[in-house]
Amino acid sequence: MNDLLALYRAQFRTTIAEQLQYRGGLAIWTIGLVLEPVIYLAVWSTVARSQGGAVAGFGAADFAAYFLVALVVNQATFTWIMWEMEYWIRQGHLSPLLLRPVHPIHRQIAVNLTFKLLTLTVVVPAALILGVVFRPNFAGIEPWTALAFIPALVLAIALRFAIEWTLALAAFWITRVTAVNQLYYVAFLFLSGQAVPLLLLPGPVKAAAEWLPFYRTLGFPVELLLGRLSPQDAAVGIVAQVGWLAVMVVLLNAVWARGIRQYSAVGA
């Protein structure tokens, strides 16, 4: 356990040093991160205005609150492992990682968390500025929703990490995973509540989205914090998060075990 902590600390230091070398890249990345929710916000605010101020109970200020919180939650939960894993496997960079006495996933978790902490320094000011510009309606936030938001967010981070790590392992069998990644990205966009609150999806799609795990990693914590869910729904949601997480961890281990056997270590 102590060894693992030391590993995380070391990875933390290296990642910070590494990222500070590429400040320009970080700035460009921030533009994309902030622009995306602003686009959805603009689209849906326009729709709300054209429908006499609100659509499905969402006014412009409600959309602003939704997409601002979604920006922060997405920043906390996103991973880039699906792109990185392909590179590791295709180029053989996975080999040295396998030689180390710890599972490569630890390294990835440490890098991911460090990057999040680092980018928080740009994302929080960006969110605050957008908050001033768009005047979100945060009236629904109550002490209990703020409190319940914390475990929901932590679970969302873990769940999305497990899902995307598992999907990333497709690279063991497929050499060019761009199409797979893109399909996942589109599915996630609509089923997680990233591009549009679930409430606005057509009935059957909405029902499906509620059963699938994507919503639990993004839309659910957002709606929970904003007070759009009843306490029962919140409890059910957290149970669903735990359940999906358990399923994904089992799946992850099974796929990893098979994939590692498949791995032929190109370039090693």
Binding site: I31, I39, A42, V43, V47, Q51, Q182, V186, V196
Partner: protein
């Protein structure tokens, strides 16, 4: 004439080179179709809740989507890969070889690298535009077609000049390979009419990064909501910006001392 012939030679070489990797065609088609599907899904959800977005009807937004694919395809077909290559060449010193060729260096640097499969995006853009036109019906006469053609030409010239301006910075700050990514990530905003964005963003998308001129303006020309002022401004910029970019390029070129020499 010579420019066209050179472009053709590079296009053919690029095609021959890529034909070795036919799997890439399938990959590109898959990628473009998924992107198209995502856009259509988004439009579908929006129009299930409203009849018009900022005054734009479904077929009019489809026209925007068509221009989005068309201009994006053209830019990714030759402009962006060539300019990325140019910046890489500056960094590695290989740009010396471009300079020794008996053709204009700016032109050669702008057409050097061709990603043939991006023609898929151009084709998708044309197809979507066709569907939009069919849906818009009678209204599109020669006047609108001319406005569309003119503004599309101006839009492509503006995008090219803008990207060239960015790339030319490589003469001063050798490592700027990420700079074109800014354009790509902001280009996403062009899927929707820029009129729906708040003023500060609309202005940045018009004058800072000229996505409005590249997408919304030509689409407006096609659906007949283009004012004479905007048309004049687009054409003026389409003429002026290439000249500015040319001037900036020459200044940069004078600074270049050859990295490897």
């Amino acid at each position: 004439m010579r420019t066209l012939r050179l472009l053709w030679v590079h296009l053919r070489l690029g095609a021959l080179n890529e034909l070795q990797y036919r799997g890439n065609l399938v990959a590109q088609m898959l990628q473009s179709l998924i992107s198209l599907a995502a856009s259509l899904l988004g439009l579908g959800i929006v129009f299930s809740k409203t009849d018009a977005l900022g005054g734009w009807g479904p077929y009019e937004l489809l026209a925007i989507l068509g221009v989005y694919f068309l201009v994006g395809g053209i830019s990714q077909l030759v402009v962006q890969p060539s300019l990325s290559r140019f910046m890489e060449d500056i960094r590695l010193g290989a740009f010396d070889f471009t300079l020794t060729k008996p053709v204009d260096a700016q032109m050669l640097a702008s057409i050097k690298q061709i990603e043939v499969w991006k023609l898929v995006d151009v084709a998708i853009g044309a197809g979507v535009l066709g569907v939009a036109l069919a849906g818009l019906g009678e209204g599109v006469g020669p006047a609108r077609a001319a406005a569309f053609g003119l503004t599309l030409l101006a839009g492509v010239a503006i995008v090219y000049s803008f990207l060239l301006l960015l790339a030319t910075c490589a003469f001063w700050f050798v490592r700027v390979d990420n700079i074109l990514v800014i354009f790509q990530s902001m280009y996403e905003a062009g899927r929707w009419p820029i009129g729906i964005y708040p003023p500060w963003l609309r202005l940045s998308l018009t004058f800072l990064v000229p996505i409005g001129f590249a997408i919304t303006v030509p689409a407006s020309g096609l659906v007949g909501r283009l004012s004479g002022d905007t048309l004049a401004l687009a054409v003026a910029l389409g003429v002026a910006l290439p000249l500015v970019a040319r001037w900036f390029w020459r200044r940069g070129l004078r600074r270049y001392s050859g990295a490897s020499a």
